[in-house]
Chain length 456, copies 2
């Protein structure tokens, strides 16, 4: 009898998922990975280490104290009745925890909540959005999720019927989108960001890819926009965003706005504008555009990846479609309450006048400044010339050499946009915690050898 | 232009999901729900309240103190450096938190972990399983999940290719299974539990349903067994479990063992045996049977639904199939760390000699005894006779009357098995916290009227 469960009889969408990751470096890494399987020992390393995903606290970034004070008090509310607590926790953390607990029936942080999240926390999130945008936000539009990923999966599950349904995604993109589209059996329609306009999103490119997909019989359902695009500060200009909103309305696309990096802006003359704010600014109401905004507690200065918190704000869906979203959410009961509380905190951090404000501000600024510094690498002139000879951007040249020498996959900054003459890599650490020491050792050895080779 | 997103162009599997919930009371409830939509005001209530899912802490059950002490310390580790902490927390909670933090690189409870969960916590879970079963357990076999539901979804996503793939599920069943099978496009093959053998799982019934499904061209991939079946104490007998294990091996089925109620046994002569223990006891090794055991922090005496913690232990899958499970897990990065810590705690609670043991034991026993008491209702003789005249079990009669009068959906105990002459309902509270006061008011009014009507 054949084995009851074998790769041959698994869901082919699951199998296909692994071919969905894109980008030159990652594709090259996959090639090297195959080589390692077919010819073990043929490379100077035994495995590929994907460092293209952000996990700041595993690298020593400390959590914001105020957030953790509130979480600890909500986890163990009987602390609030003890005198010693006043000397261990800030006064505003105590009052915030009390306020949060008062919105939870029975103060039960161990109970399933409403499948969209605790109503009081959604009220707080909506208030934070309204303050940020200057336009009203409604708690009924908020679906609190275990990070942004489950929200993206829910949308893909909702919209994708088969491989004839397509989703427009930016290239380069976060592999979540390609993986989720593959898992749900749809087709990823790539569009390319244009370096000449500061990595803006050209409407002509969107139109071209949309028409190309339609000519192949693809029903394009949605446009994914990631703004800001990454921690190095690529932020879409306001008029570019207006054009995108109009394009989605005219073409009948759902706008899936990945806005998880809204706090990661390191350039003074750039400003984050949510797509909902842009849509309302040009007079578009609920009925003009189905729009989903994703936010996460994992990014920004908070970096609380392990807490799995986030939300999506859904506007412009009919009541009957929204009911289907609610149904998918309710099959999973609810997102974790710790993550829910944290999502409400990042949208309502301490304000001036609060006891915690000075400490909070110092922690926040320290983290953001450190992130900005860390993104940059200094390359010797000789390395820049060697890159030119190889027809590569210097940071892409560095990233390829790093991959070939060590198996470590990073993303060159030239794939994201950067100030001319500066070079960056996006090097972050994947979940496999036991491999972190190896990454650091190999990376250090490579960097020293590279710098020695190209010393000016 | 047609609306870009409408019910008509959504994923049909999402739409189908709502027809997947089964059982007489629930089907009747759905009928009443439709009636409310087409003829508003035609019933003595405005909406249907599904109370067929467990949420103890929303009804006042207090969390176990030791668990919450450890969570608070892990959320805010700087407490561990303060002198006052020693008077606020038990000594073993402090040492447990230190031990847990020491297994997390950088003590970072805000970092993404390994996609299967933090290795040190999986070691602790495996040790707890080994102690429970008397057979070894391996941390590499543990996938820590946000409650049991995501684990079930992952298995359905893995196994189901299309509607020709079937999963054998018990009736009555927890609606998660029907919903998940519908969402992933497979077919639910029902099998019925037999009241005459104490709601045992008859192999003849399994065979009959399996052959019937195969004759229709269905490729039956797995058998779902829920053991213990529910909080009233239905526990499969050991020899029955042996037969089930042999049946799965002989028929080439994956055994999906829902063992989330392993602590909810209220009868002295019954004992929980995990299916893995049973399989190993009869000499079956890894290669004989693909077996997945689901556990959750939401059930038992812990009842930590909102924390979304749980795990699945996977044995008997080939390395290449396991890799696919890992891939699905990694697309979602990791489960929430608070839930991960809690999963390790419920599998390793305080032991005799620990400072917290006496308080822990008192809390645990109090909760379990209270749950056992609460499951029972006392019906007057007249009501029992009225039920007999209506050809219903007395508790089913009560449940139907409750539904018709109030819109509240509960599960009659006769659908689960109970001591002859006793009657039970399973009445629990759905996530919609704002409706809880209405449920209690309506339920109380109904119960008083019912008891008055049938007073002996």
């Amino acid at each position: 009898m054949a084995p009851s469960v074998a790769v041959e009889n698994l869901n082919p969408k699951v199998l296909k998922c692994e071919y969905a990751v894109r980008g030159e470096i990652v594709i090259h890494a996959q090639r090297l990975q195959q080589q390692l399987q077919t010819q073990p020992g043929s490379l100077p390393f035994d495995e590929i280490l994907y460092c293209n995903i952000g996990n700041p606290q595993s690298l020593g970034q400390q959590p914001v104290t105020f957030f953790r004070e509130v979480l600890a008090l909500c986890d163990h509310p009987s602390l609030l009745e003890k005198e010693e607590t006043k000397s261990l926790f800030s006064a505003d953390a105590i009052s915030r925890a009390k306020r949060i607990l008062s919105t939870i029936p029975g103060r039960a942080t161990g109970a399933y909540s409403h499948s969209q999240g605790i109503k009081g926390l959604r009220d707080a999130i909506a208030a934070g959005i309204a303050l940020r945008d200057g336009f009203p936000a409604n708690a009924d539009d908020i679906f609190v999720t275990d990070g942004a990923s489950p929200g993206v999966h829910m949308m893909m599950q909702l919209l994708l019927r088969d491989e004839k349904d397509g989703i427009l995604c930016p290239i380069p993109q976060y592999p979540l989108y390609s993986a989720s589209i593959a898992l749900h059996g749809g087709t990823l329609i790539p569009y390319y960001l244009d370096e000449k306009t500061g990595w803006g999103l050209e409407i002509s490119e969107l139109k071209k890819q949309l028409e190309d997909a339609r000519s192949k019989g693809i029903d394009v359902r949605a446009l994914v926009v990631i703004n800001p695009g990454n921690p190095t500060g690529q932020v879409l200009a306001e008029d570019n965003q207006c054009d995108i909103v109009r394009f989605c309305k005219n073409e009948g696309l759902v706008l899936l706005a990945d806005e998880v990096y809204q706090e990661n802006i390191y350039v003074d003359d750039k400003k984050f504008n949510s797509f909902k704010k842009i849509a309302r600014s040009i007079g578009y109401g609920e009925d003009d555009l189905p729009l989903v905004s994703f936010q996460s507690v994992s990014k920004g200065y908070y970096g609380e990846c392990g807490k799995r918190g986030g939300y999506m704000e859904i506007t412009g869906f009919s009541a009957s479609v929204r009911e289907q979203v609610y149904k998918i959410a309710s099959v999973n009961l609810c997102s974790n309450i710790t993550g829910q509380i944290l999502a409400s905190l990042i949208m309502n951090p301490p304000k001036e006048g609060d006891e915690s404000y000075a400490a909070y501000k110092a922690e926040k600024d320290g983290i953001l400044q450190s992130l900005a510094r860390r993104a940059k690498i200094h390359l010797p002139q000789k390395a820049i010339e060697a890159a030119k000879a190889a027809k590569k951007a210097p940071d892409a040249f560095y990233a390829l050499r790093l991959l070939e020498a060590t198996g470590i996959v990073v993303v060159p900054g030239s794939g994201f946009g950067q100030v001319p003459g500066t070079w960056h890599i996006r090097c972050t650490i994947l979940p496999q915690e036991d491999k972190i020491p190896a990454v650091i050792t190999r990376f250090k050895a490579f960097h020293e050898a590279f710098m020695a080779e190209y010393r000016d």
